[in-house]
Symmetry: C2
Subunit: 215 residues, 2 copies
């Protein structure tokens, strides 16, 4: 019974996701669904993106949080439109909450809409939000075995950022083993290495990111 | 409708959890449900626990993994009974899978049963397994705001381990702010600081842990 119910929930989610996708496409908005464990550095990466892109691109952010709106507070200084979704304990965003969150945005003038999903490497990967693509973030402190142990998001993502490279000298993270596991799960995935807190590697990621915006 | 279904699932989970709890109590087994984000160091902490305790206590482990059995493989060298639960993508363990996993154990001779839950700071906290208590693990690399942002597990746990203290000098983790947030969520929680990879702080945690075993 639980399987049938889960299938119904996912079907309803997919239908609404397709509506969102159509709306975003009509307005030429690229929506990036960012997924990671708690504390991998999603918000810091968004801070760097806002600093680098806000002059040339019209950016918006949807912030998913389990309880607080701390992440949204951190991004307020960039003076961009931000909508917070408090999932009240829920472990992922879904396409219905995104559909409501899209309403306040002036989509016609928006180029890039970042969605910072709830910090969770498992559940968010099952819920299509209507995004243009998913992006995974993993921190060097989490260990190089994350793609093998949590393959769902890494198989689906268009890009994976290995963040906190400044901690690499102090961990036993094996970058080659990580990259090789990732490549065999998803041969087409784009890989980036960043230290978002130091700003290192961020421009390579952002150069690629804006190349994905449709003209 | 989804809320009613979720309530049914949780009710059925709680009933089976009480059965597990009764069975464990009858056999004087202390079951510790360990919950953290991916890569916070649960398995390494268990390696240290096996090394330090296996001579004086009869230890068993239930390993929850989304796909692989890598964590179980890491613990095999300690020659203790280990049962792997592969959730096949599922984001948490539940009391029914634990009930089945208990069957192969010789409970009458067991003192401590560790359950390494799936790497996820959200969903596992909602599912009572029948454990004696829950224990949270958080890595210094995840940031000091984790108790505030993911309060569920920290409110319920009997102990919280701040792991990877060897990385503290290289992060902006504020131990006081972390401890104060944790204390206000859960005034009775026991706090430990460890570097499981270096073995630092582990004996304080284990001294406390064995003090929780009923005579």
């Amino acid at each position: 019974m639980e399987i049938r119910i889960m299938k119904n929930i996912l079907d309803r989610n997919s239908n609404k996701a397709e509506e969102n996708r159509k709306l975003l496409r009509e307005n030429k908005v690229m929506m990036v669904n960012i997924i990671s464990s708690p504390g991998a550095g999603k918000t810091t990466l968004l801070e760097r993106a806002c600093e680098a892109l806000a002059e040339d691109y019209s950016i918006g952010v949807i912030e998913g949080d389990v309880t607080t709106d701390r992440d949204a507070q951190r991004l307020k200084k960039y003076n961009i439109p931000i909508v917070s979704i408090n999932t009240e304990g829920g472990c992922h965003l879904d396409s219905h909450s995104i559909s409501k969150a899209l309403e306040p945005f002036d989509l016609a003038s928006l180029d890039i809409l970042f969605v910072e999903n709830v910090g969770n490497l498992i559940c968010p990967s099952q819920f299509d939000l209507g995004e243009t693509f998913k992006m995974a973030v993993v921190s060097t402190a989490e260990g190089d075995d994350k793609p093998s142990k949590y393959p769902m998001i890494f198989s689906e993502a268009r890009a994976a950022i290995l963040n906190k490279t400044d901690l690499l000298p102090y961990t036993n993270f094996n970058v080659e083993s990580y990259a090789s596991d990732l490549r065999s799960l998803n041969p087409r995935i784009k890989m980036f290495q960043t230290s978002a807190s130091r700003g290192e590697g961020v421009s390579e990621w952002l150069t690629w990111l804006v190349s994905q915006v449709e003209g």
